[in-house]
Subunit: 267 residues, 3 copies
């Protein structure tokens, strides 16, 4: 129990590391969800793009909002923004600092999803198989445009009768998957370059201001936790007194009614 | 034993975290139950929709009532509503706060079930395979409407002779599953957006009132726990005195009857 | 818990070993990513070289920046470079020492990727199959240059109809893979020789200066950690006093309003 309590105190004391942990957990959950997702393209001309893009973009949106939801700092930020100005001056910079730190952590899981989906390529093949330019492939020379459209809609479904063992299906699928992977790796590189610039060049500009904002953001978190704890303690103390008062009252009432004469008698 | 007791006391002291834990546990149990459920569609025209929708909606209802049952606050809320008005003013807002917090926690497990069922798609395919518009698929051109209905009823049963290895079955099944997943992801997104708005925009409106209600809701919980404990202690104390009194009485009666002469005798 | 804490303290206290651990972890992750990567060459004349070289060089670049990102020392280095000169003299040598140690650790994972890709050979075959000199192989004698180019573009795709079971495909592929492995082993040897010279011959030149720089680089790391910890402690202490002050104020206000007469009464 003591170990559990110490672990708990450790987590309580350093809120930032907790948030990083939650952020990592969410990213891991994202990988788990993606790998357990049963992706099946409808292979119907009108629905392909909708389904593919939906599965590429809806879950990241949900994960982004989840990331904001589970982060205590996002609530703290709104509270700091709306609090009545007391002795402590309101500083927009602190709110901006909290906002950026919340956004950074909330964006991790959606990015993981999008990159996984792009590197895997299934969503991309499903979404864009109808948009491929048939001119690029020699296999469509002797097909009418309507037939080509029908064929392209079936490309994501390996098992379909129409496209089974067709070299054209493999060529289109290969082309789209390799495009998807290229986009995925480009986004990865871009994200890492931006993160690198943001992290390594920041000390060149406003290190002191940054440290101050971090201090205050930590302070707000601690203040709220202490407030909650003190409230709880206050309520317990108050309830204790009320209950004791009730029992004392009851006994004095009984004594007044003459129902309790000797110390071992009824209530 | 001591560890267990301390854990118990910790859980007792912070009722909200316990409720969150129970809520998570219920959701985990839901996932476990769903994954171990052996879903098999009857594939009979009249029963398909009933079975599919039943399995989609009955367990969530049961889980919702379970969620209300295991939550202490739902009982506290009714008690607060019916208690005689004493010195402490009755506040409808507190009851409303408790009600909403109880409902939120009770809705988690049913939502998990519904989303799992929709993302998995089996229930949906079973429930709506008869309602599919045959015009959408080219494979039904040379079948009578009656045959189409019979065929559609068999769609959820992969192993059935009538539909085995039929590309039409695969197409309908693919279409329904992808519709099911789309609905599932839309509900997920909607729920998360609502939760996000409720949590992150709340501090903009009535933060003080909210904090007060949370304080009183915690207070009620603590008051009842302390009342129970004090009652228990009082009863033990009282019983102790009664039992001692009984033995004292018996000994004096025995002495009066002259049945107890030496100190090592009977009772 | 105590063990966990000791491990944690050990990791905290010796930043260099943490960095080595992270560096190893990144290399392991690299191996994992490479082995789970689904490499598929587009087999289209114009895209082959782009895709192959992209997959050979983009991930190492991303991994290199990642290696810089996760290394605390890279931020410390920029901070040391930009800090206002106080009593402690700024020494360019220390910055150079930190820079080289950061670069060494950041280069490990990219090297692992490049060596894996070269020893595996798939990327190399995909990138350079179009650049092979057809004169080297006897099989292309009776093909037009255009046909040879189309054939060479299909070499990385084993399953393609055009090249299936063709001995020419096998010959070209064998030649390219063996070239790729030769380059990979040469780079491995070169890296190991350089590392050996740097590590074993360094004590011959400037051992004292090296030890001093290492001391100061460790010092900076520890200084920052202690500063962060003290900040956190300060914030906690301050928040504690503020919250107590708030509750004290509330009780004195209540007393002033005459709402709190006896210790067991309502608020």
């Amino acid at each position: 129990m003591d170990r559990f309590r110490m672990l708990f105190q450790h987590l309580q004391s350093s809120s930032e590391s907790v948030m990083n942990g939650i952020c990592l957990l969410l990213a891991a959950v994202t990988v788990k969800i993606y790998s357990s997702l049963d992706f099946n393209c409808p292979c119907l001309e009108r629905y392909n793009a909708l389904y593919g893009l939906g599965l590429l973009l809806t879950p990241p949106l949900a994960l982004f909002l989840c990331g904001l939801l589970v982060n205590r700092q996002s609530v703290l930020m709104v509270e700091e923004w709306r609090r009545p100005a007391g002795h402590r001056r309101k500083d927009l910079g602190i709110i901006r600092y909290m906002c950026s730190s919340v956004l950074q952590r909330a964006l991790a899981a959606p990015l993981v999803w999008i990159l996984l989906a792009l590197l895997d390529g299934k969503c991309f093949v499903c979404a864009f198989s109808n948009s491929v330019d048939p001119e690029k492939f020699l296999d469509f020379a002797n097909m009418t445009p309507r037939q080509v459209q029908l064929f392209l809609a079936k490309v994501p479904c390996k098992e379909d009768e129409l496209v089974k063992n067709s070299p054209a299906r493999k060529a289109v699928s290969r082309y789209l998957r390799c495009l998807s992977q290229a986009i995925g790796w480009s986004i990865t590189l871009l994200v890492i370059v931006v993160a690198f610039l943001a992290r390594c060049l920041r000390p060149c500009f406003d290190q002191t201001v940054f440290l101050q904002r971090r201090y205050w953001s930590n302070y707000m978190d601690l203040e709220q936790k202490l407030f909650d704890e003190t409230c709880c303690e206050h309520a317990r103390d108050f309830a204790h007194r009320c209950v004791l008062h009730f029992f004392a009252n009851m006994q004095s009432e009984l004594r007044a009614l003459g129902l309790r004469r000797d110390p071992a008698g009824g209530i």
